[in-house]
């Protein structure tokens, strides 16, 4: 029982990270039906910026996180303006190729600048446990990650429903052409989506590597992206709430189902891919997504 509770707590904290990256993917998918294959690398790069700000510039940790999120948002907005906007959003192939190019280039730049040795990341949340029950513990880290998703999803909901740019974003994701006709500037609105996505992703990586058992290195998000993608697909690729549910579910599958099942531990990635494949095969809109209706 205690072991089970510990695994639930592990699963929730892993899942929270996947949920954050998945939310970043969803922000971009909602507006453009594009998967940004470089999202994990954007987030990793943002994580390094935060690390540099905190350790070399001596900023307090949370200030560093916020500044790092802002910097990565600006970088992502710049990338959107220069590399993504020139292409027709309806034609996916060149855009996918661009994001794959970004994947390679950003990963390489991080490797060149910061090398491949893993680096310890300062703790974001207090160490120790919030609750103990026998040998089962609920660490402050798990509580912190869950609180982070709550804050981020609350913030995004407010941003999308209560602000003018949020309204424009929702209009663009609902119908790109019509929103252009009513005078919304589509380009800057999508740029806003990219910036928010990069900021959320950066926060996700910071929360991920703030765990005392993990370190930051350029490859940290290479497989993380696969987990996040299946989380996003499970929840429905255009649903922010779905991304949270999907992320937590994938995290729980990884830490509960996989250890109890006969398949060994390394296969949590396979479990995520199988979930992804099953969802896309049988319910491509995911749990909470809008079903795609095609006119034939």
């Amino acid at each position: 029982m205690e072991l089970f509770l510990n695994r639930v707590s592990d699963g929730l904290s892993n899942g929270a990270t996947y949920a954050l990256i998945a939310m970043a993917l969803v922000m971009i998918f909602k507006a453009t039906t594009l998967i940004n294959f470089a999202q994990g690398e954007f987030a990793m790069f943002g994580g390094f910026i935060v690390l540099v700000l905190a350790t070399e510039r001596g900023l307090p940790m949370w200030v560093a996180v916020v500044v790092g999120m802002l910097i990565s948002a600006v970088l992502a907005a710049g990338i959107e303006r220069t590399l993504i906007r020139p292409f027709d959003p309806a034609n996916h192939l060149p855009l996918v190729i661009i994001t794959l190019g970004l994947f390679l280039a950003i990963n390489a730049i991080a490797g060149i600048v910061w090398r491949f040795d893993p680096r310890a990341f300062p703790e974001l949340f207090p160490s120790g446990n919030a609750l103990t029950y026998g040998t089962a513990t609920l660490s402050w880290y798990t509580v912190g990650t869950l609180a982070t998703i709550a804050v981020v999803s609350g913030g995004l909901t407010l941003l999308l429903t209560k602000t003018k740019v949020g309204l424009a974003f929702r209009a663009v994701s609902s119908n790109l052409e019509s929103s252009e006709l009513v005078g919304i500037k589509v380009g800057p609105t999508l740029q806003f989506g990219w910036a928010i996505a990069a900021a959320v992703g950066t926060l996700g990586v910071c929360v991920f590597v703030a765990s005392p058992f993990r370190q930051l290195e350029p490859q940290v998000m290479v497989t993380g992206l696969i987990f996040a993608v299946s989380a996003a697909a499970l929840g429905g690729l255009d649903s922010l709430g779905g991304a949270i549910v999907g992320g937590l579910a994938i995290g729980l599958v990884q830490s509960i189902v996989v250890p109890y099942s006969p398949i060994p531990n390394e296969l949590s990635l396979l479990a995520a891919v199988v979930v992804l494949m099953l969802v896309l095969l049988f319910k491509p809109s995911g749990l909470f997504g809008t079903p795609q209706v095609e006119r034939v």
């Binding site: 594009l34 280039a105 990963n107 060149i112 290479v222 992804l276």
Partner: protein, 421 residues
């Protein structure tokens, strides 16, 4: 309209045949030069850097070429964006390695096994592709590629695959006694001026002989693969898969079975991926899981796009690019004006990433489309004019022939797709 090209050929004339055979001859000459020059540790020194061009690296490039050729079939011609080619490349490599190391098979005999297994696996993975489309397919196949290394390390497989340590093979390609590699190398060495590039004139050591022979064998296998795909693309199934790529609905309306052609093209692509992996392991002598991550699959996409999507010659260029660029980038240790710090680490990935982005902007058809644009300024191949028919006997078929001849220059593009290897 640009000025008239310097050389004009009509299909089927003796002049055109000469032109074509001249092309084949130059290719063969190039292959022979690559095989015998630099076969040891040849390198070009440029700005204090040492760029190695050994024949083993070209063999590695051939392995990539064959895998990219497979990707061209499924992604370039059938339009199914698969990011999972690395999975089949790895599978082929491991099957060959296990059969050679544990069961003492000859490499040649492993090839049919690799082709069969990868073809069947490809069919199986083609089935989800019937329902999953476009970007979603890219996601699933990327997941597949990402899973491969952990599958290899799985306890129940590790005793066959060697787990994280990799699977080493000890296999040498020995040429039949009637192949006079030594004599050819010496003959090259005797050529004045350039002879010194071809060995030391004392024949080839047995190691060099094996390398050269591996290269020759792999070149022949790769040429066979390219010829087969070129025939496939030009034939009825080839037109069918291109119809599927261009418009699924209209293809289905015209009686093309989408499920048959999609799964088949996945099968063919995977089989080619497996052959590529087999060649890779034959050259490298070891299959290790770290080589077959999803990064490899992304590199194949890079190769396909940089070379030119939907072209066969694009696969050749793509294979060379992804084999040589990372190597040369890491051997670039000093460049004037750039701090040394920026030349260490994964510069190859940076260059490939930037190359991919830049080409998508300036040359979406890949390097090969640039080459073709330049070539079109010098050479034009036109289909033969149909013979004039007597009035009254004009049938519908001659009418359609006529209209083809009119669209000469644009039509001349399509034969060149299959022309060059």
């Amino acid at each position: 309209m640009a000025s008239t090209p310097r050389f004009q050929y009509t299909l089927g004339t003796p002049a055109y045949r000469t032109y074509k055979w001249l092309g084949f001859g130059l290719l063969a000459l190039l292959l022979i030069i690559v095989a015998f020059a630099y076969n040891d540790t040849g390198s070009i020194a440029l700005l204090d850097n040492d760029y190695k061009i050994s024949v083993t690296r070209v063999t590695k490039a051939i392995a990539f070429m064959v895998a990219i050729l497979g990707l061209q079939v499924v992604a370039g011609f059938t339009g199914q964006l698969s990011l999972g080619q690395g999975f089949f490349f790895g599978t082929g490599a491991y099957i060959s390695a296990i059969l050679i190391a544990d069961y003492n098979w000859s490499w040649y005999l492993t090839l049919p096994v690799v082709i069969t297994v990868c073809f069947l696996l490809g069919l199986v993975f083609g089935i989800p592709a019937l329902r999953i489309k476009g970007l979603y397919l890219a996601l699933v196949t990327l997941g597949l590629a990402a899973v491969f290394p952990s599958l290899i390390k799985l306890d129940s497989f590790a005793k066959y695959t060697g787990g994280a340590a990799g699977k080493q093979i000890d296999y040498e390609f020995v040429q039949p006694s009637w192949v006079p590699l030594d004599a050819v190398a010496d003959a090259f060495h005797k050529i004045p001026l350039i002879g010194s590039y071809f060995g030391d004139g004392e024949g080839l050591s047995s190691k060099e002989e094996h390398r050269v022979w591996t290269f020759i064998v792999m070149t022949i296998i790769a040429l066979a693969c390219f010829k087969m795909v070129s025939n496939l693309v030009k034939s009825r199934p080839g037109r069918a898969i291109r119809a599927v790529r261009d418009n699924e609905t209209s293809a289905a309306v015209n009686g093309i079975s989408l499920s048959y052609y999609k799964t088949m093209s996945f099968g063919v692509a995977s089989a080619l991926g497996g052959v590529g992996g087999s060649i890779y392991v034959a050259e490298l002598g070891i299959a290790s899981e770290g080589d077959f991550t999803q990064l490899l699959s992304i590199l194949f996409i890079v190769g396909m796009v940089v070379g030119g999507v939907g072209t066969l010659s694009g696969a050749v260029i793509g294979g060379l690019v992804i084999a040589f660029v990372p190597d040369w980038a890491s051997s670039t240790q000093s460049l004037p004006g750039i701090p040394e710090r920026w030349l260490q680490g994964p510069t190859g990935g940076l260059i490939l990433g930037i190359l991919l982005i830049v080409l998508t902007f300036v040359l979406p058809g890949g390097i090969i489309s640039g080459v073709r644009q330049i070539k079109a300024k010098f050479v034009r191949v036109t289909p033969p004019r149909p013979a004039l028919v007597a009035v009254g006997s004009a049938s519908t078929s001659t009418l359609s022939d006529d209209s083809e001849a009119d669209s000469g220059p644009s039509d001349a593009e399509s034969p060149t797709i299959a022309d060059d290897s």
